[in-house]
Symmetry: D2
Subunit: 359 residues, 4 copies
């Protein structure tokens, strides 16, 4: 009785408001849910200070085919965050309460062949925060200590929380040589925009950016693009060949997932050049492999996730040193209650990165 009396107020305290995918269909809701609790001694509990919307969140919100096949509601959404550790499990040694961390959204197993070979970004048993387990669109999130990244204090939460997608851009851009090279970025959603900035920071001679939205192209310019083209008005091949006097670019970063852009990626890349494929096409893509790829001796890097933790280490260094500034990509700072508005911005393509900052 006594213990029940003590227990009850505790249980009442231990709820939080989170953005939850409640049903197998479009939409999501702000719900009261039990506050995230450490369940294993190798976990940490984080008070979320900033969290941001990824295209994946938008897919889950819209409930596309991929989401329907993978997500099991109810599920707290969100996987991009930065915050402060409020509790650590018994076995956690290198992190402590008060540390300022972000999260690697891909929780990897550590013992498949890929993990053993330090290619953990392609772990065979990856679980994703906010997709396969409850996410960070909430005041608190619990993650394994090995999935947390200790941030430099000089990086503000609204930047620290976007390192997961920024890491995609860093991984894709730096998967080969950039300094002195010409780079085309096809598709200027947030990851494409970031890639523009990363390529410039890495010493690219010129960065050419394409997209279907002038809004995003304007952002790409702010982030350092030397020339831009709206693919609804300008043919990408024509644009690139004009910029490069017919030679094509050294590096193509395909960030759109559009079948036409993937085909163009191969055509605008110079003989012996490099193409990084990161955008996800929804349907199979037909390619003229003989002429556009094989005879040209291209190298194609298929990019997923970020390298744990080489990519994060590079990011920390670039952000902390001020060599990489992607703050212009953050176009909207919303409150949690405005999440439907955030999703609308994603749908319209009239945003860069949309961040929820926490009180």
């Amino acid at each position: 009785m006594d213990s029940e009396a003590k227990g009850t107020p505790e249980l009442m305290k231990a709820t939080m408001q989170a953005i939850v995918k409640t049903d197998a269909g479009p939409g999501a809701q702000i719900c009261d849910v039990p506050e995230a609790q450490i369940a294993r001694p190798d976990q940490i509990k984080v008070r979320v200070q900033a969290t941001s919307i990824c295209g994946t969140d938008f897919h889950i919100y819209s409930w596309d085919r991929w989401s329907a096949g993978r997500v099991k509601p109810p599920r707290i959404m969100g996987h991009e965050f930065a915050g402060e550790i409020v509790q650590v499990g018994d076995q956690v040694e290198h992190l402590k309460v008060g540390d300022y961390v972000s999260g690697e959204s891909h929780w990897v197993c550590g013992h498949c062949q890929q993990c053993l070979m330090n290619d953990r970004h392609v772990c065979a048993n990856t679980r994703i925060l906010g997709v396969d387990v409850d996410g960070c669109f909430a005041p608190y999130v619990v993650v394994p200590a090995v999935s947390a990244w200790k941030n430099d204090r000089s990086v503000p939460p609204e930047i620290a929380c976007i390192q997961d997608p920024l890491g995609n851009a860093v991984h894709a851009t730096l998967s080969g040589e950039v300094i002195g090279r010409t780079v085309a970025v096809l598709g200027c959603g947030p990851i494409g925009m970031f890639a523009v900035a990363v390529a410039k920071a890495a010493g690219a001679a010129a960065v050419y950016a394409t997209d279907a939205h002038d809004y995003r192209l304007a952002l790409a310019t702010k982030l350092g693009a030397d020339a831009i083209a709206n693919v609804q008005q300008t043919d990408t091949e024509h644009f690139i060949m004009e910029q490069t006097r017919g030679k094509g670019v050294d590096v193509v970063l395909e960030m759109s997932g559009a079948a036409s852009a993937i085909r163009q990626a191969m055509r605008i890349c110079r003989r012996g050049g490099r193409v990084a494929l990161m955008g996800i096409p929804v349907l199979p893509v037909e390619l003229d492999m003989a002429e556009d790829m094989i005879f040209k001796g291209l190298t194609i890097h298929c990019i997923v996730g970020r390298r744990l933790y080489e990519t994060w280490d590079t990011m920390r260094s670039l952000l902390a040193s001020g060599r990489l500034d992607v703050s212009a990509a953050i176009t909207h700072r919303l409150r949690f209650e405005e999440f439907a508005q955030g999703m609308q911005l994603m749908r319209d393509g009239t945003c860069g990165k949309v961040v929820f900052t926490m009180p």
Copy 2:
């Protein structure tokens, strides 16, 4: 008068019998043609001791669409050879009469960006011996000194002449790590067979080979394949997944050019693995890029030609040291007059490498 008298017989002597693509259509003929003559001071003249048939020769003989668009008859065919230098141009310094050489069939310009960056195998101005200029199916051939490769005397002409396609296999196989890796070779024409042997010489843990012809699979076994499958009886994915306990292989060398095999190449490759694409598909190929490539983080190397001359240097060393023995791949030694028979063998797939040895 006297000199004219001497001159006339000389001019009459200066003819040779060559295999010539005489007309824009199927077939080829043995013709009397003027003996090849040095036309520039940086060229050499070689007495051909052995020459071999490439798939490209067969395409030109059959007069497929590619040949019809590129080859301008009359043209002496052939680009794979080994022989002895009988004359050198005035500017040639590092080669001399009597040297034993083979030829790199890709004549490169030396001053395009690719050549300047030592990616000469993707030179923007490549001309191919026996395709764009007169070839080596003849007793004599004239080539630029920079396109000749000085052989080790320990390598016999019938092996020295196949270094051009062997180089394709070396380039493809060694474009990434092989030692301790599992390797699938899809398509066991000569280059595929060679790739089996190269992968074994490089320390591959296991090499799995597929083809539609049992004849070729038997040769692949002779060259070192650990397991084989005839794709007309066995599903490639099933075969590879069984061999690798469901993991897929670390490395795929696609040598067939079949659209189905290219798709399978992506599917049988483990997450984070490497695919080398060398077989030339005749039509566009449809790929499930999201699931089979991007989410798996594959690296795709499109392979054309051989590196000038890193690949040749490695080949020389492997052949001269006996670490690589591909003699089992030479299944037929013919005389020039039997070239139609050679082409028939190519059509039937009942041969490995067909070599013409010269008297």
Copy 3:
């Protein structure tokens, strides 16, 4: 009382006989010590089936300057082992009782910059089994689960236990290209011998080995050396230049730690070649850096430990596939009680690898 009665025999059982460095001076003793016990939930307990003597063990036994500065007696010696898991901590998920494992002797922290960048072999906080913590010259050893490597069942314990030093050889040899290259191995202690075998398995064109002991050179020949020289009778530079017709070798693996050999390593390496330095010189070494290193454009890899776990993965594959056979390097199989004899063999240089196999 009852529980005490049960407890007492248990406590009495819980001792084991181990080879212990008891005092800060030369020698070691077989002692009764408490049986190793799991102290943290992320550890495993292993019944040792085979364990082998490393040069480091010999240094500790002899109590050289390095040992005196680092080892704090009493300390159970030994860091190379293979065995069966008999108990796992509560947090261990991917290993289970009965698994057949070996141990990575370098226990790394997992969170320094090197660990985060997957260069864990140079972790800033490395602790070494049998040096900084109690080792495996005992029937049981307790190690962190992340320091255990699951072996392929086809590899016998006496081979599985030598993977730690074999990994040194694999790491050093494969730190650059080997296929088709000429390789010199200076110093044929166990790691040098192993390097000979690894270089051959990786397709080296020729491997030249030197040592001061004919016994070891004979073993190097068994393991694949193409030519050998005893440095007490033959000048190393003369030997290598003769073998390579004055060119020098492509790759030098310096495994002796002798100052003279390190200097020769630079001189026998061809322009643009690679030198791996793994042998540990006891005193500073004087080098003619201008002529022997800088003007030649050498690449020098300083080698410590093995890559966790890329190197282990490659080893597993090479051993399980039979591509690498180093069994000839195991020259002595002793019982624990004979450890002083093992140390004497190490001193005399009349052994390859000395293994203790357990009943």
Copy 4:
């Protein structure tokens, strides 16, 4: 007779004033010498527009031990230049009169193993302009067409002429990863200064520079150094450890050749880091290889020359795009007659790059 009459005035015209090492001893003189003439059909003749002094020129001028052993007077000095082609040999196809070129000072053979493997910067038969053959401290210079580099018109001659040493800096700096890394440059002569700028252009997080001259450190700051230290007042190790909070730097570029700096290079480099050695020590150097190099797992790149022509291609791109601006390093523009003054500046260390511009 008539032709002789015409010939004589031509021969009289065909002289030029050049800076000549006339005798085997200190000094050099401006002399009338025969105007450089094309002697082979693969050469070009260039009207020099700008030429600059290298440390090597200063060594020859001072007649140090190295010069005395290598240079055979009389010899026209100088190897760094930019100018316009005024004549091309009969076999030169890709260059023409009027082209704007610079020269790679290392004339390579093209057929040794290093050249065949595209490591031409370590060609076994290198001849150096202004050292082994007559140089470019003259109105005209004749060089092999393959040693000329076609410049972008946007790069002015005084920058185009310094690409040979700038190429050293690019080669050294980009021999490994730079983006996001901390870099120490030891020695800020012209190549060191350039390396500071290149590292910044490549995205280094921070560049720390040391030298014994405040004049040069001030220039290093202009070229982008984040922190500097004069080694006569500050201990290099203390400086770097303070800047990096005890971790050491990721990359060290040793440009001084001082034995003490080479030793420090190893000590200030973090575990697993990279050291590029480019400065030439005059005497053997003693290193604590065990502690400072091997146990730390360092990678050491010995740097000589520049990659032909990957380094040049990168330079062209960086200069033409404006990503790399090294104009601040050009501190003195002299006339030919003032060459003794230029040498005095070199001796005093009170200069960056000294350029002779031609009328």
